[in-house]
């Protein structure tokens, strides 16, 4: 993975040569930000395409196959359609909040992406409180949903927004706690540090054996609830609320909500990969020696497997009711999580880890 290194290095030196220190670093950040924006917008589009294809295979259908070879440009066409759509809205909406809501959601999901170590060099922002930053940012997203539901002056949207508020706040808890159990094992919040530990001792899910597997299951359940997907998609339950909080949005604003949902899915999957399955490390170090093999590939293979699992949940399970959703969180996930942390602490104290 030395090719991109040289490119960023040359740009870096060229910028610093022609501009003063501060201006150069700002332009560099802007450049990286636009690169990430483009990369993950396209990744979001192709996640939508993957979701529609996977859904079709589950449901005895073919999925999009008309626009472009194998329907690859289908979501591109959808994006263009959404861009060209008129931004309609009902008359008595709360103008400021209505327009602000989509930006909240899309900005939080994009900022969370900055922290992930896709490969050794390919990481925008390696801060030593990586995990903490991730949890903090992903909890701002729910404000956007609440704003959107409240300001669009539609009773169904209001109910959807209230449901999503309740759901995300309570599932924030078990996401944080399950990450905490794993951080106990690694001892550091820095993402690249976590991967370094896994290079020698094997993946964290193996190191932490039983409590780690429990933490992984809790994290997957809470993660799907966090992104309002699968059995917990009460926010936009088609058969109850129509389209939930984004009923009144159209055009590009709807595209932000839609894209943000898929990028959130990407975030949850990448947290799981970094924390449990050793980020860009190849399984059992088989491609350790070969230099030209891009480690980013391992990262995305693992992310795709986890996303496939989340899609499998979505197309099999019926929806939970609001109060069952909360009883599941407060009566089942939380107690198990707390016991799990104590169990993990005992194991580390008696250093039974592998």
């Amino acid at each position: 993975m030395s090719i991109p290194l040289s490119i960023t290095k040359t740009i870096h030196d060229w910028l610093f040569s022609i501009m003063p220190e501060s201006a150069a670093s700002i332009t560099e950040m802007v450049l990286i930000a636009t690169a990430y924006l483009i990369l993950f917008a396209v990744a979001g589009l192709y996640l939508v395409y993957l979701e529609r294809k996977v859904a079709a295979w589950f449901q005895l259908r073919l999925g999009p196959n008309r626009v472009g070879p194998l329907g690859l440009f289908q979501t591109m066409a959808d994006a263009l359609k959404l861009v060209s759509k008129e931004l309609t809205s009902t008359d008595r909406i709360d103008k400021l909040l209505y327009n602000l809501a989509p930006y909240f959601v899309i900005i939080t999901s994009l900022t969370a992406l900055a922290v992930f170590p896709f490969s050794k060099q390919f990481q925008a922002f390696d801060i030593n409180i990586g995990m903490f930053f991730l949890i903090a940012v992903s909890s701002i997203g729910v404000i956007g949903i609440l704003l959107g539901g409240w300001s669009s002056n539609n009773k169904y949207a209001l109910i959807g927004a209230m449901r999503s508020g309740v759901q995300t706040i309570s599932y924030e808890l078990s996401v944080g706690l399950s990450i905490l159990t794993m951080v106990l094992l690694t001892g550091s919040l820095q993402l690249s540090e976590i991967i370094e530990i896994q290079r020698t001792g094997g993946w964290l899910i193996l190191q932490g054996h039983v409590p780690a597997i429990i933490a992984f299951m809790i994290f997957m359940i809470a993660g799907t609830a966090e992104t309002n997907r699968a059995p917990f998609d009460l926010v936009e339950a088609e058969s109850e609320l129509g389209a939930g909080f984004h009923t009144e949005y159209s055009g590009m604003k709807f595209a932000y909500f839609f894209l943000a949902e898929f990028i959130n899915m990407l975030i949850i999957a990448s947290i799981a990969v970094v924390l449990f399955f050793g980020g860009w490390l190849s399984p059992f170090g088989i491609t350790e020696g070969i230099t030209w093999f891009p480690e980013v590939l391992w990262f995305f293979i693992k992310v795709l497997i986890i996303i496939l699992l989340m899609m499998w949940f979505r197309w099999t399970f019926p929806r939970l009711r609001v109060d069952q959703l909360l009883t599941l969180e407060w009566k089942y996930l939380l107690p198990i999580n707390l016991v799990n942390i104590v169990f993990m602490a005992i194991i580390i104290w008696l250093n039974w880890t592998i």
């Binding site: 996977v54 079709a56 295979w57 589950f58 449901q59 005895l60 259908r61 073919l62 499998w312 949940f313 197309w315 099999t316 399970f317 089942y332």
Partner: protein
């Protein structure tokens, strides 16, 4: 301790559910039931009793079997058949006889119930099997079943 058994068989039922969809996911290649309609147009053939549209078959000499007896018009529940008939001299017997002029069929109002075909004494009207009946302008749906210049086949008595 129903708490743990509750969780255990909860997860077990979830996994069996997933096994069913997984089973279909793995066999996605041959299991798809989508009919790609515009592409399979030439191979798509309707069953021979399919009720597409009422037509009046004409033989090669442009003769049909409709004597204009209006039985189908009476039998039709929603008035989608109108018969315009006029008096004509019958060549063989030389006396006045009812002759069909126009057999108007409103496909727009027809509910495909088949009572007209059931009521027709001389089997003059039958079902056609075409299924592409949509048109751009409603007037095109009012059809005249007997072709211009056609007349009744000899020897058909109602």
């Amino acid at each position: 301790m129903s708490y743990f058994s509750d969780i255990y068989n909860g997860i077990k039922t979830l996994l069996t559910g997933m096994s069913v969809t997984g089973h279909y996911f793995v066999r996605a290649r041959k299991g798809a039931i989508t009919q790609q309609y515009p592409d399979n147009r030439d191979t798509l053939k309707m069953f021979d009793r399919f009720r597409g549209e009422v037509i009046m078959p004409h033989d090669e000499v442009n003769e049909h079997r409709c004597t204009g007896c209006q039985k189908c018009e009476i039998a039709c529940p929603n008035g989608s058949i109108e018969i315009i008939w006029d008096r004509g001299i019958d060549e063989v017997t030389g006396k006045k006889k009812k002759k069909i002029d126009k057999h108007i069929y409103h496909l727009a109002m027809c509910t495909m119930c088949g009572l007209c075909i059931e009521a027709c004494p001389t089997d003059a009207i039958v079902w056609a099997q075409n299924y592409e009946n949509s048109v751009y302008d409603r007037t095109q749906l009012t059809k005249v079943l007997n072709q211009p210049g056609s007349k009744v086949k000899a020897g058909i008595e109602d």
